[in-house]
């Protein structure tokens, strides 16, 4: 009850000088609005990147083995990868390390030429095994995938993405037709379901899958893998599995210290985190705007409150004469600065959320509204209210009541 009355009196006091109160709020309004936009947008971007990444890699509970020393960077392709990782390595991992459920050996190349009569395009081509779709959580929209016997028989079969269909079959009728991949005729056995865009924003439909054996015998005539995807039985075992795979591969490749590994591991989960944090880095400038606004807002609040103390001297003296202790005066002024920052924050967050409703309605996106953003705004407002309100409040409380009451 007393808090309610005190808060109402604080609002009354702030309503005496509406313009001054508005200026006290201004910095907080701008700061909190910016902050709300940053946090909500950042969260949305992060979520989007993570979703796309997950969509790209299928299961996150894997460890990817690639050839080349751990210092090697960049996306592997058949033409530039070191020929150290073999299909037999992948099979050994699956056989000898119990933490691993299965291993998918992969050969891939990018920018591969594809032709149908006079039409041509370039796309990524992957040589994979028949359980690939299951591992990657993908599916075909039309037709089917190749089978284990296709793989054994080096079948001239391909399953292609929507972008390839669009480029090579303008009428959309691709199933059963023949396309030339790297000058090898392959029959289209299936069309992949679209996966939309990847974490970087590019299409994930511009590709073709062929049986791994077809890739290594007919397309490139090379045995080494570009990667092997090891699926963990338990995602928490990632580090232990990497240790065991390292030991196994070093032994198989005859590597002895001090020689470096000729293979490397990446964890999709870590890559995803890295990508997500990179995607939200553009917020630095906006964060600076928010921080400066809040800081300036706080300093303005402090100064305007300090100057209002002179003018409210008699009120302070009156309250003291009515029995207010120093602490009561401190709390009263702190309450007023908190009311200012919280009201300013509410207006700022309201502007940000309301503005985003208007803007995103046009772009057909869900509006920005995250409880993380709002709770961060709340914490900031309370923090600023206290930090910049405490000095004026202390000064008000330290007034001598007799001096303050003097006519």
């Amino acid at each position: 009850m007393k808090w309610r009355v005190s808060t109402r009196l604080a609002l009354r006091a702030l309503s005496v000088h509406k313009l001054r109160t508005f200026f006290m709020m201004l910095g907080v309004i701008v700061g909190i609005a910016t902050l709300t936009v940053i946090v909500s947008l950042g969260q949305r971007t992060r979520q989007q990147v993570m979703e796309r990444f997950k969509n790209m890699v299928g299961s996150l509970d894997t460890v990817v083995v690639r050839p080349g020393s751990p210092a090697t960077r960049g996306m592997a392709s058949m033409s530039d990868v070191e020929p150290t990782l073999l299909r037999a390595d992948a099979e050994a991992i699956a056989r000898e390390i119990p933490l691993i459920r299965r291993v998918a050996p992969v050969q891939n190349a990018s920018g591969v030429e594809m032709k149908v009569s006079d039409l041509n395009t370039t796309a990524a081509v992957f040589g994979v095994t028949s359980d690939w779709l299951e591992l990657r959580n993908e599916s075909v929209a039309e037709g089917g995938f190749f089978t284990a016997s296709d793989e054994e028989g080096l079948a001239r079969a391909a399953v292609i993405g929507k972008d390839v269909v669009k480029a090579l079959f303008p009428d959309g009728d691709a199933l059963g037709k023949t396309i030339k991949i790297n000058n090898v005729n392959c029959e289209v056995k299936g069309i992949l379901k679209s996966r939309g865009v990847g974490p970087g924003g590019g299409s994930m439909d511009n590709l073709a899958y062929v049986p791994l054996s077809t890739f290594s015998r007919r397309l490139y005539n090379q045995d080494h893998l570009t990667m092997a995807i090891a699926e963990l039985k338990d995602p928490r075992d990632s580090d232990r599995a990497i240790e065991q795979m390292t030991a196994l591969l070093r032994e198989r490749h005859g590597i002895v210290p001090p020689a470096e590994d000729d293979f490397q591991f990446t964890s999709p989960r870590a890559s995803m985190e890295r990508m997500a944090s990179m995607a939200t880095r553009f917020n630095t400038l906006l964060t600076l705007v928010a921080a400066v606004s809040l800081l300036v807002g706080g300093v303005v609040i402090m100064n305007l409150m300090l100057s209002s103390i002179t003018e409210r001297r008699k009120e302070i003296g009156l309250r003291r004469s009515l029995g207010a202790k120093k602490r009561d005066i401190t709390l009263q002024f702190l309450l007023e600065s908190l009311v200012v920052t919280l009201l300013g924050g509410a207006i700022g967050a309201g502007l940000a959320v309301g503005g985003s409703y208007a803007l995103f309605a046009l772009a057909n996106l869900p509006p920005l509204l995250s409880w993380q953003a709002l709770s961060l705004a709340l914490v900031c407002c309370v923090f600023i209210g206290i930090v910049f309100g405490i000095q004026p409040a202390r000064r008000a409380a330290s007034l001598d009541p007799i001096e303050a009451l003097r006519e």
Binding site: S15, S321, G323, K325, P401
Partner: protein
């Protein structure tokens, strides 16, 4: 009830010269009295008011209010004592702006140990005859009405002592008389009132006048026939 015994109050003027605002003052006021403290400005009456109102502690001497030794209290205890025992009425009313009459009267309840009860504020406004002005802002009331609100505020915690400092100084003569009539009425109902004034005519509304000069009590006498503000009002 109020015992001031040999109280001296000294200030440092300009940081070095000692000034005696009160010089060995001894004064006893009983419950139910209406006392005027009269004196020119600079006489020490304000200092006496500050000591009486527990806003200030004497430099030496004793002050007992309702058997509490005020001189030994710290700042927080003095605040509590002011809240519970003393009702202040000021020359310039000192109401909060943009705040209703009722909220102004409630203000001391915020600092009281007792629970916050709105009906007490309503009752206090009824006592001063402003029961129909509860939700008016101070700026919407006349000077006399504002001072009534201030008196209601002084009464709300049922104080042992109402201290009025030139309560009619900012009012025209008729409104001033009305306020004096109200104070006299409260006194008749048993309220102890101490009024500080420089105006000898106003002081004669009290039952007893204590004259202060140069920090000392110069005279202390009962008023044989106090002026009746109520009669003056109905008569003219």
């Amino acid at each position: 009830m109020i015992e001031i015994d040999n109280v001296t109050k000294t200030y440092l003027k300009d940081g070095k010269n000692e000034v005696k605002a009160l010089d060995r003052v001894t004064l006893t006021i009983s419950a139910g009295e209406f006392v005027a403290i009269a004196g020119q400005s600079g006489s020490g009456k304000s200092s006496l008011l500050n000591v009486l109102g527990c806003l200030d502690r004497p430099t030496s001497g004793r002050y007992r209010l309702d058997d509490v030794d005020v001189a030994s209290l710290d700042d927080d205890a003095l605040s509590e004592l002011r809240n519970a025992k003393i009702g202040f009425v000021f020359q310039s009313f000192n109401l909060l702006p943009r705040t209703t009459a009722l909220e102004n009267v409630e203000l001391p309840l915020l600092y009281s140990q007792r629970p916050f009860e709105r009906r007490r504020a309503e009752a206090a406004l009824d006592t001063v005859g402003l029961g129909d002005r509860k939700s008016h802002f101070a700026s919407e009331l006349s000077g006399g009405e504002q001072q009534r609100v201030a008196i209601a505020r002084a009464l709300i915690n049922d104080p042992a002592l109402v201290l009025a400092d030139e309560p009619t100084g900012n009012l025209d003569s008729r409104a001033g008389l009305e306020i004096m009539a109200l104070l006299q009425d409260l006194n008749r109902k048993g309220r102890t009132i101490v009024m500080v004034t420089h105006d000898p005519a106003l002081a004669e509304h009290a039952q007893r006048i204590v004259r202060v000069k140069d920090g000392r009590i110069e005279g202390d006498a009962a008023v044989t026939a106090p002026r009746e503000a109520g009669t003056a009002l109905s008569g003219g």
